[in-house]
């Protein structure tokens, strides 16, 4: 059947004021307005959201899972960023 598929959109929902938008899934829509309208019906039927972002999936550039070890190595090898790396003498409080 001759049928051009609608683009895929990633959907992000802010569940309440004060929280970040969070990825919830994806859907197909012909344009951004339809993507928002469909996201309302698919992902917020029970008051799960107060705000919606949609991003065309083609526009998401993601890190490579197979390279996660080397990508995040600096965080793993630098324990001195964490407060427990340091000794605090007994008797010192509020630190």
């Amino acid at each position: 059947m001759a049928n051009q598929e609608w683009p895929l959109w990633e959907v992000f929902i802010r569940s309440k004021q004060g929280l970040n938008h969070k990825h919830v899934g994806s859907l197909r829509a012909s344009d951004e307005q339809m993507a928002v309208d469909n996201a309302r019906d698919v992902y917020t039927r029970r008051s799960e959201g107060v705000s919606i972002w949609v991003v065309e999936s083609n526009n998401v550039f993601a890190s490579e899972p197979a390279q996660a070890d080397s990508l995040f190595e600096p965080a793993d090898s630098k324990a001195y960023r964490h407060p427990m790396f340091y000794d605090v003498p007994d008797g010192i409080s509020h630190m």
Binding site: M1, E5, W6, L8, G25, S30, D31, M34, R45, R46
Partner: protein
């Protein structure tokens, strides 16, 4: 990156599964794991979508406005569940429309229960109570499935299923406590849906060819027979409570095991329906195919409009 052979990749993959680390879309996974998930998730999605048809049959004939609003919301939820699942299946690199076409050509299956007709209003009760009840038993363990997007979709689905089951139980119990005619209607519906509902869990473990591998991969957490037994054990007392009789003269409670034991399940009927010879198989697939074909011009027009607007906004 170091070259690693496939055996090593498979070993690391199974190690993640054994340690309950979820697999996410772009992680390495064995091709068979991917194909198993594409098959299972897309068939699950098709079941949600086809499942809208037997209930949609009664929306215009609901006995009052409250029941109509509830049924509409319930059927809309089923559409939502189908969409969460098609979204999950696309994360595996599958083409959404191709999986839908597989449904339409008969290559892909869906839950056999939806090949039975809904001939009375009481069936809206039986479906919510029994069919959604069985679906909950099946779906709750999938919330802990090893594949992240499927597990997350199931969490959303399970949150919504509880309403489905309760609205169905309310319908059937109200009829069961009504006039003799209403009570007979409830019993007649229960008689038709009981056996197909317990067959929803699929063939006996000994005849289930995918179970062992799916359990090793933690796609499945319980066997068909375990889930079926859980469903029977919770449902029999509910039926008795509202005064319905289980249509199984051999049903008995085993005091030693603490489980109900049913008479023999008619697996010939199950396989006939799976093969396409149930009462409504053709009607269901025809309705889905027609919906796709009739909607084609709308989808094309929406796309043409979007493209025209894009050009206009760019200039």
């Amino acid at each position: 990156m170091k070259e690693v052979n496939i055996t090593e990749l498979e070993r690391r993959f199974q190690e993640k599964i054994d340690n309950d680390i979820k697999i996410e879309p772009r992680d390495w996974m064995p091709e068979e794991y991917r194909q198993t998930l594409i098959r299972q998730i897309s068939q699950h999605a098709h079941s949600e979508i086809v499942g809208m048809l037997p209930e949609g049959n009664w929306i215009t004939r609901a006995p009052n406005l409250r029941r109509k609003a509830v049924l509409l919301a319930k059927v809309q939820d089923e559409a939502g569940h189908g969409l969460y699942l098609y979204s999950a299946v696309e994360t595996l690199g599958a083409d959404r429309e191709a999986t839908i076409d597989d449904l339409h050509t008969g290559k892909a299956k869906y839950s056999s229960i939806f090949n039975y007709p809904t001939t009375s209003w009481a069936d809206m009760g039986s479906i919510g109570w029994l069919v959604d009840g069985a679906a909950i038993m099946n779906q709750v363990p999938i919330c802990r499935c090893s594949y992240g997007p499927y597990a997350r979709a199931m969490v959303r689905v399970c949150k919504e299923e509880s309403f489905h089951q309760r609205q169905g139980f309310e319908i059937i119990s109200l009829l069961a406590q009504g006039t003799p005619e209403q009570k007979a209607m409830a019993q007649e519906s229960f008689n038709r849906f009981w056996w197909p509902a317990i067959m929803m869990f699929g063939p006996n473990d000994a005849d289930s060819k995918h179970t062992a591998q799916s359990m090793k991969w933690k796609i499945k957490r319980n066997t068909n027979d375990e889930l079926r037994q859980m469903f029977i054990d919770v449902t029999v007392p509910q039926a008795e409570m509202i005064g319905l009789t289980i249509p199984d003269k051999d049903l008995k409670f085993n005091k030693e095991t603490g489980h109900y034991e049913t008479g023999p399940i008619d697996w010939d009927e199950f396989w006939e329906v799976v093969k396409g010879n149930g009462p409504c198989n053709k009607e269901r697939v025809d309705a889905r195919r027609k919906a796709k074909e009739d909607g084609l011009w709308v989808r094309e027009a929406a796309m043409a409009y979007a493209e025209k607007r894009k050009v206009k906004n760019a200039s």
